[in-house]
């Protein structure tokens, strides 16, 4: 059990990183990696939402969709759950901690459209995880996303100050950097068999 959980965690954080090997959640990965502070806020918020979304979508799949025999509606209902969840979390944060709400700002609602969240929910179903595994899978995905996002933001802050050739400035060099990062993460592939 513990070994299995550790395996899932290492696998999702490093070997099958959601951003760099599954290419999910690329939009916030490119969009909010300009500043390291923003990237940290986004990473924390995404980690939180991913874990919750993974668990709740698993529960709905197992106890609503399967008994009613309507598993083909999984994608639609998962989108519904994620949107409601993000909205609820935003409401809670806004009233409980306006400061955190101001720090996270626009990134919080943006998570609704982060395909990594939907990806986690759907992969849970495909890989037939049980509840504990689903929670770990969601948390691991969020952790992996967060690590990659923050380190990528750190890289981009340094690239900003270096003499990049004119045609490569901005998005092109960022994409090249992301590609090199993805290649570096390929080194983890042999570690875990997915």
């Amino acid at each position: 059990m513990l070994e299995q959980g550790l395996l899932i965690l290492v696998s999702t954080v490093l070997a099958n990183n959601f951003v760099l090997t599954r290419f999910l959640g690329l939009c916030p990965f490119m969009g909010v990696s300009n500043k390291i502070e923003g990237a940290m806020g986004m990473a924390l918020a995404t980690m939180f939402v991913l874990t919750l979304a993974s668990v709740s979508s698993y529960l709905v799949y197992q106890y609503v969709l399967l008994p009613l025999n309507i598993t083909y509606l999984a994608t639609v209902s998962f989108i519904l759950i994620i949107a409601a969840l993000v909205q609820a979390i935003e409401l809670i944060i806004r009233s409980q901690s306006p400061l955190l709400h101001r720090v996270l700002g626009i990134y919080l609602p943006l998570i609704t459209t982060n395909c990594a969240v939907l990806g986690v929910a759907l992969l849970n179903v495909r890989q037939q995880h049980h509840l504990f595994e689903a929670a770990l899978f969601g948390f691991g995905a969020g952790l992996g996303f967060g690590i990659v996002l923050v380190s990528f933001a750190a890289l981009r802050e340094r690239i900003e100050r270096s003499p990049v050739p004119e045609p490569f400035k901005g998005a092109p060099i960022a994409l090249i950097t992301a590609g090199i990062m993805a290649m570096a993460f390929m080194g983890f592939t042999g570690m875990v068999k997915a």
Partner: protein, 185 residues
């Protein structure tokens, strides 16, 4: 087919109920006292009080972190109104922050303007209109006379003239709230 429709509607309804419950259980911020204090402030967003705008200053007053005599554009009248609202002594204006002046609006000497956009970035209420290397102008109705556009101007082409009429406070407040909504959204 029927179970699909029922199941999905049930799911949606449950989530909607959850959202309604959360919204009721955790009402969004806006301390009524902050709102009341904010309506008394002149909405110049001039930051002379040391806070980035009228809303943050109102929040600081409500939490007891700030004195009520830090608003030079509001002057004695605002201090008196705040003292009445909060039930404390009215104090003379803190002169180190600025002096009380009649309502002003900025005006750009359009012949000297070089279109550098620096004043547009400085304006807290988006009252300056213009594009790079084009002449800028001030929308007098929107201008609060906060003077924040004066220091950045490299050619010193902005002047302050007495406002044609007393700036309408309800409008200014509405505008400030709109800008806050945009920032939040």
């Amino acid at each position: 087919m029927l179970s699909a429709i029922l199941g999905l509607s049930l799911l949606a309804l449950t989530l909607a109920a959850l959202l309604v419950w959360v919204a009721r259980r955790f009402p969004a911020d806006s301390d009524p006292l902050v709102v009341e204090i904010e309506t008394l402030l002149p909405q110049t967003q001039c930051a002379q009080c040391g806070y980035p705008g009228c809303r943050p200053y109102a929040e600081a007053i409500a939490q007891g972190h700030a004195e009520i005599n830090r608003c030079p554009p509001g002057g004695t009248a605002t201090i008196q109104a705040l003292a009445d609202l909060l039930g404390c002594e009215a104090k003379p204006l803190d002169e180190s922050l600025g002096e009380e002046k009649p309502p002003l609006v900025a005006i750009i000497d359009e012949a000297s303007c070089i279109g550098c956009k620096l004043c547009i970035q400085a304006c807290p209420v988006d009252a300056i209109l213009g594009a790079a290397k084009r002449m800028h102008t001030v929308i007098a109705d929107e201008c609060t006379g906060c003077e924040l556009c004066i220091p950045p101007c490299p050619v010193d082409c902005i002047d302050l003239i007495p406002a044609p009429q007393v700036a309408s406070l309800p409008n200014a407040l509405k505008r400030a709230q709109r800008i806050q909504m945009q920032v939040r959204a």
